[in-house]
């Protein structure tokens, strides 16, 4: 099958499952003990869908992203669970097979695009490197250049700037170029890890719109990872809330925003101001995330939870379905009040 130079998603039919994360458990071994960074996480990304993972820093969002690409540091162990892409397990692949899938099947937009470019090579050449490694047929130098130019145009950059070095780009330009690089090999999945965190608010908004537009146009499947719940609200259809390495709530973005069922989601939303929604008093989330070397017994959120009971200390709540595609891991989800909601 001849490959066109079209920029597209190589995923399958929209709505069918593409990436399945099943009961993933990942620990970091340290001198002080095992850090349980990802604990029993399950979710599915469908073709053409944008989903989000939200949580405080250190809750295991980035660890999940790195597990998907198998880019974890040496001291990490995937204890159990599986990651399947189009039904094929990525955990079982050997290093060389995995290397070939990186970027070609799953690419990534990193947090802090400032430092994700190698300062000594031209931006264009760094994208070219990805093409050389993963494009199925060898392209001529000219074809490579044309494709990079097309990618630059798609993300709103002047193709002439591909000759420049990273230091000659502004923060926003670099982030656009990172997106261009992520799209370069027509991946099936893009993981966007804090794609706009280091940028100023106006540029943030431009980039998010751009990303959303590209995702819709190309039917791309994207996992957004952010601590900023507003970012997730803007660009995703479904979202998961993570706390201390566990996925505590999963549902459609609108549903979670209007009717969060987990006390943590509730408090997180209460602590975030809304410009478009009704005025309300902000409630800061008290306490600190737990130490993951010795995580709290039962529900990991119980030390900070206003609804906590003895059951929460003794038993770990399972993820249970509470509505249409909405599941939550809490013993007291029925007690969580409704929020006025944030207009999408």
């Amino acid at each position: 099958m001849a490959q066109t130079l079209e920029i597209e998603s190589r995923g399958g039919k929209a709505g069918t499952p593409l990436l399945e994360v099943q009961n993933l458990v990942m620990h970091y071994g340290t001198k002080e003990g095992d850090v349980s960074a990802v604990e029993d996480v399950t979710f599915t990304l469908n073709n053409g869908e944008a989903i989000g993972l939200v949580g405080e820093s250190g809750c295991g969002k980035t660890s999940i992203a790195l597990t998907l690409l198998r880019l974890l540091p040496d001291n990490s162990v995937v204890k159990s669970g599986d990651v399947r892409l189009d039904g094929e397990s990525l955990i079982g692949l050997d290093e060389e097979q995995m290397r070939r899938r990186r970027w070609r099947d799953i690419s990534m937009v990193f947090q802090g695009a400032m430092n994700s470019w190698n300062p000594v090579y031209r931006i264009g050449d760094q994208i070219r490197e990805a093409l050389r490694l993963h494009w199925p047929e060898t392209l001529t130098y000219q074809e490579e250049t044309e494709r990079i130019a097309a990618l630059f145009e798609l993300v709103g950059l002047n193709p002439a700037t591909m000759e420049r070095y990273p230091h000659e780009f502004s923060g926003g330009m670099r982030q656009r170029a990172v997106i261009a690089m992520a799209l370069s090999c027509n991946p099936k999945v893009i993981i966007a890890d804090e794609p706009t965190t280091a940028l100023d608010v106006i540029v943030q908004d431009q980039i998010l719109r751009e990303l959303k537009k590209i995702q819709k146009e190309l039917g791309m499947s994207i996992i957004y990872i952010s601590h900023d719940i507003a970012v997730i609200a803007e660009v995703t259809e479904r979202m998961g809330v993570m706390y201390a390495g566990k996925l505590v709530e999963l549902g459609s973005t609108i549903e979670v925003f209007h009717r969060p069922k987990h006390p943590y989601s509730y408090l997180l939303l209460k602590s975030t101001p809304s410009i478009t929604g009704p005025r309300r008093k902000l409630a800061p989330l008290e306490g600190e995330p737990p130490n993951l070397i010795e995580p709290p017994s039962g529900c990991r959120f119980h030390p900070r939870c206003p609804f906590a009971t003895q059951q929460c200390i003794d038993e770990d709540p399972p993820l249970t379905t509470v509505g249409e595609g909405h599941s939550v891991a809490c013993w007291h989800w029925q007690e969580v009040p409704e929020i006025g909601g944030l207009q999408k």
């Binding site: 008290e286 900070r304 206003p306 906590a308």
Partner: protein
């Protein structure tokens, strides 16, 4: 359940204004200092090489202390010609060795040439080949522990001086020189660095151009010329090395550290509170640059020891005794190519200089990991 919801306010609840007034400031500082020392020691201890370095330095410290003690006790009664055999400069052991007179000397320890024998004897008649002659020690003697009048644990040098005694004394000289050079170098560098960073402008430009110049000047050749013109002694050499190394690279590095301290909010706070320039520099900037200064002190010791030993080896210094001089004597007396056969001439001194430098270098590297978290493993 209520207690789980209260925020951790332990510090605030225990806050007692009375206590703060009553506890003298130095005690608070001491407590804080001790706490940070313990934390840093734990980090330092992680690096086994650093601990090895510390052990090496401690060993040399013991050696330096041992010399005067030994001179006053065990070695005090070994007189020869009115002078103590173990004295590092005047002492010479005149062990009498019986040597065979031969035509061509292959083993200088047991054989002697005709001409040398003639000078040794009465000088009237030429000694016969094959005869033996009593020769005082004009050659280095191998190590002897006991059974002789004056035991030499590491043998003697070509003039009959005790190598072990010289080695111990060398440790003293090395510490003295290292301390002088390191303290003067780092004191100067800290001052130049902080002043340059704090005031900026013309002062900064001038001082930094000076630093550039000092880096560019080849230190050893310059010191060779200086020691050719002047009579350079140990203290002077230490100060000279201190000045030359303190104005150069160390000043630049400490300046960049001082710059990063200068932009911190507490400096602004101190200025708003009416702190004068000098007070801000000495009370706020220098204490924060100090850890890095200590680090460079370690490297300054290494550099100073090498320079001194190299100059002594080249025979250019006017100092009493040092490891460099021990090697210089063996070299100039023609034992350069004897290698292992007269190992006690060069190996003890050579190894001592190497280990001494390595000790400070290793401690410096380990301190680097404490001061600079980017170098740590995780």
């Amino acid at each position: 359940m209520a207690d789980t919801l209260t925020p951790p306010t332990g510090e605030l609840e225990n806050f007692d204004p009375q206590r703060v007034v009553e506890e003298p400031l130095w005690r608070v500082r001491l407590r804080l200092g001790w706490r940070s020392f313990r934390r840093n020691w734990a980090l330092f201890n992680d690096n086994k090489m650093g601990v090895v370095g510390l052990a090496i330095i401690a060993l040399f410290g013991l050696m330096a202390l041992a010399h005067p003690i030994l001179m006053a006790t065990i070695w005090s009664n070994h007189l020869e010609g009115g002078k103590n055999v173990y004295d590092i400069r005047a002492g010479a052991d005149s062990i009498i060795v019986t040597k065979t007179i031969v035509e061509e000397v292959t083993d200088p320890l047991t054989e002697i040439s005709q001409i040398e024998a003639m000078f040794l004897g009465t000088g009237v008649n030429i000694p016969e080949i094959g005869d033996t002659i009593e020769s005082p020690l004009a050659n280095p003697a191998p190590p002897v522990f006991s059974g002789v009048k004056h035991p030499h644990i590491l043998g003697t040098d070509p003039f009959g001086g005790d190598v072990f005694s010289q080695l111990l004394f060398g440790a003293r000289a090395a510490f003295l020189l290292g301390a002088i050079a390191a303290i003067s170098s780092v004191a100067l560098a800290t001052l130049v660095g902080t002043i340059s960073a704090y005031f900026g402008g013309v002062i900064d430009t001038l001082l930094m151009r000076l630093a550039d110049l000092v880096i560019l000047i080849p230190l050893l050749p310059l010191l060779i010329v200086v020691s050719g013109f002047w009579n350079v002694e140990l203290t002077m050499l230490g100060i000279l090395i201190g000045i030359l190394s303190g104005l150069g690279g160390t000043a630049i590095i400490l300046k960049s550290q001082a710059l990063s301290v200068k932009v911190k909010p507490f400096i602004d706070a101190a200025r708003i509170a009416g702190g004068g320039h000098w007070r801000i520099i000495t009370r706020h900037i220098i204490p924060n640059v100090l850890p890095l200064s200590f680090l460079y002190m370690m490297f300054a010791v290494t550099g100073a020891i090498f320079t001194e030993a190299a100059l002594s080896f080249l025979g250019l210094l006017n100092i009493q005794q040092s490891w460099g001089i021990m090697i210089n004597i063996a070299h100039t007396q023609g034992y350069t190519l004897e290698g292992f056969d007269v190992w006690w001439l060069m190996f003890p001194a050579g190894l001592a200089i190497t280990l001494f430098s390595a000790g400070f270098f290793l401690v410096g590297r380990a301190m680097d990991e404490v001061v600079n978290p980017r170098l740590r493993k995780r």
